[in-house]
């Protein structure tokens, strides 16, 4: 196992798993924070996956994922802000 693969495993176990744990419970606005953290961690994980597979076309994944994640999260903040009280929990 190369050093980059070890970093990828550490990132997924130590970064993505706790972020998904945060995204799994609590109020929707609190879960949104976990989603944002997971999105940032996944972007870096995509870099390391592209390095370990040695295929540069794997970088298409983070180049599409990053702006979509940004826009999607902003849409969620807007939707949660306009949700009637009582329907958020």
């Amino acid at each position: 196992m190369t050093g980059f693969e070890i970093c990828l495993v550490v990132l997924l176990v130590g970064g993505l798993a706790p972020a998904l744990f945060l995204a799994a419970g609590g109020r929707p606005s609190n879960r949104l924070v976990g989603l944002e953290l997971a999105g940032a961690v996944v972007t870096v994980a995509f870099f390391l996956i592209a390095m370990t597979t040695k295929e540069s076309y794997d970088l298409v994944l983070p180049s599409v994922f990053t702006p979509l994640s940004f826009a999607g999260t902003l849409v969620y903040t807007r939707l949660l802000a306009s949700a009637p009280r009582g329907e958020e929990d």
Binding site: V10, P18, G26, L37, V44, M51, L59, F70, A81
Partner: protein, 100 residues
Amino acid sequence: MGHDVALALVGLGTALIVASVAGAVLAGEALTRVHFLTPITSLGAPVAGAGVCVAEGWGITSGEIVLILFVLFISGPVLSAATGRLIAQQDGLLSEKGPE
């Protein structure tokens, strides 16, 4: 030498990201948790991305990585601010009407 530098940068970036996520998990309140996104997008990811660029060398691949990191760098504080505002409004710390 270049491989060692790249691995050191990727390792450092990974450590920063894992530490930020750990801080977010340990933080009690959501408004505190929101602050831990920016160290990932502004510090951890660029350092790890720099390591990948050093490993890949100059080329279109490194340019693509820099572009992705730029988008991530810009998006982190914006998302933190938007989410922080949402949470503050729901907790009653801010009025729910935004500025006109």
